[in-house]
């Protein structure tokens, strides 16, 4: 926990399937829009400009949701680092650790939803893995967890073989539905519906609960499964949820592709009395405006379907921090 007993969550990669980057045309479009809105304003200092961005422009007009693939940090306030997935966001996280804590002497605990490429691709660029004195434990429920990591370092995919990484790296196999105490957190994995299987994780630190549930498809007519997930999300302070597809896509042309929707995420959170739903694993085709619209629509859906409890709705972006 933090010194005040609270957990924090920081998103280092929020994009689904493949990393994306804003194009120069998109940057230019944002600038033109912002400068047009700023016409006639007195913006002579950085503070004035920042205040204008914060007060006058919406998120998509002044920021970007970002494009790194899955990587989320759970900040407990203890010395060890806790991560969910090692997508391309792990590269940025690793560089931040080098800058702030130095090259070695760190301990990392990474919980893997599964080993599809977008969830492991950051590891070859995770600089702490190259430094002796760092200790990295990679947890997961898949039998081929280690093989997947070693495989992406091997020729012809990558020039530096896994055996040349200087950090101490361990792979730890977990069993779903069993509770573990790791890095000061109670952790319980759960099997999810996804090609080759994926696993969600329920983390509890003190009285705060974070659920990381990405790359999971939900069949709404399987009531047993729906109830099991509602129980997995029960009373969570934050549910990080795969909302890559619309419900229509997930039940038609993209059925059995292994992802879910904002609508199902909200329904599960409402059933579970979860406090906050964070839309995650954004569709790579979606631009900032589209993700912002998805957020607004989900908030509206929450309003019109609310019973007695409100669910806060957020959309994750690279760099976003949430204090629980």
């Amino acid at each position: 926990m933090q010194p005040d007993g609270r957990l924090k969550v920081k998103f280092w990669g929020t994009r689904g399937s493949i990393p994306v980057a804003m194009t120069s045309a998109e940057v230019r479009r944002k600038l033109i829009s912002a400068l047009t809105r700023a016409s006639g304003r007195k913006l002579e200092t950085p503070d004035q400009a920042a205040a204008f961005l914060d007060r006058e422009l919406d998120f998509a007009g002044s920021h970007t949701f970002g494009g790194n693939s899955s990587c989320v940090e759970i900040i407990t306030g203890q010395r060890d680092y806790v991560l969910c997935d090692l997508g391309s966001g792990a590269r940025v996280f690793g560089n931040e650790v080098l800058t702030t804590r130095g090259p070695s002497g760190q301990r990392f605990h990474a919980f893997m939803s599964h080993t599809h490429w977008d969830h492991i691709m950051g590891f070859p660029f995770f600089m702490p893995a190259y430094a002796a004195g760092n200790h990295i434990r990679i947890y997961g429920c898949h039998a081929d967890l280690e093989e997947a990591f070693r495989g992406q370092h091997a020729a012809p995919s990558f020039p530096v073989d896994f055996s040349r990484l200087s950090a101490t790296i361990e792979f730890v196999r977990l069993e779903p539905e069993r509770e573990y105490e790791i890095a000061g957190l109670r952790v319980r994995p759960k099997l999810q519906r996804h090609g080759g299987d994926s696993y969600g994780y329920r983390f509890q630190g003190g009285d705060k609960v974070v659920v990381y549930s990405t790359d999971a498809e939900h069949k709404q007519d399987d009531l047993t499964e729906i109830k099991a997930f509602a129980e997995f999300f029960r009373d969570a302070d934050l549910v990080i949820f795969d909302s890559q597809y619309s419900l229509a896509e997930a039940t038609s042309i993209k059925e059995d592709w292994g992802h879910s929707s904002n609508v199902v995420g909200l329904e599960l959170c409402q059933m579970a009395h979860a406090k906050c739903l964070c839309l995650y694993h954004h569709e790579p085709v979606s631009d900032d405006e589209r993700i912002a619209a998805l957020l607004a629509e989900t908030r509206r859906l929450e309003e019109i379907t609310r019973s007695d409890r409100r669910v806060e709705i957020l959309a994750a972006y690279d760099g976003m921090e949430i204090a629980l």
Binding site: Q220, D221, L223, I226, S246, L247, A248, E249, T251, S252, S261, N262, V263, V264, E267, E297, T298, R300, L301, I304, T305
Partner: protein
């Protein structure tokens, strides 16, 4: 669930009532099934009059998606009509308005699906 079927020549209008969610969707699916069996080329066209549906959850929308797939595979015609404003928003947000044939009213649905049925509807 009583769908209160009404026939207009070659088109059956079904009118569910209330909420279609986890507690009612299976009943809705079962009651709808025989109508969807006949929703085929040379047989019936089906319109679901949603004027009395207050809410539909993802599981209810899934029933509609499966019904739509069945109709298409049988070269039949299925339309959803007269959504209440909140239900219309749920359809929009879930993008079901992009994959199902949704009409502002039963009459407009009949006009698209069957002129003969429309004439019978207007004469009724």
């Amino acid at each position: 669930m009583d769908l209160r079927p009404k026939r207009y020549v070659d088109t059956v209008v079904l009118s569910p009532v209330g909420r279609i969610d986890h507690s009612t969707s299976e009943d809705f699916k079962i009651t709808l099934a025989p109508h969807m069996t006949r929703c085929a080329e040379g047989q019936d066209r089906v319109i679901l009059d949603f004027a009395s549906v207050e809410y539909i959850s993802s599981v209810g929308l899934r029933v509609l998606m499966l019904a739509s797939k069945q109709a298409k595979s049988q070269r039949g015609s299925l339309g959803i009509a007269a959504l209440q404003p909140a239900v219309r928003e749920i359809f929009d947000i879930s993008r079901f308005t992009m994959v199902l044939d949704v009409f502002p009213s039963v009459r407009e649905g009949l006009a698209r699906l069957s002129p003969k049925a429309l004439a019978a509807f207007d004469a009724a």
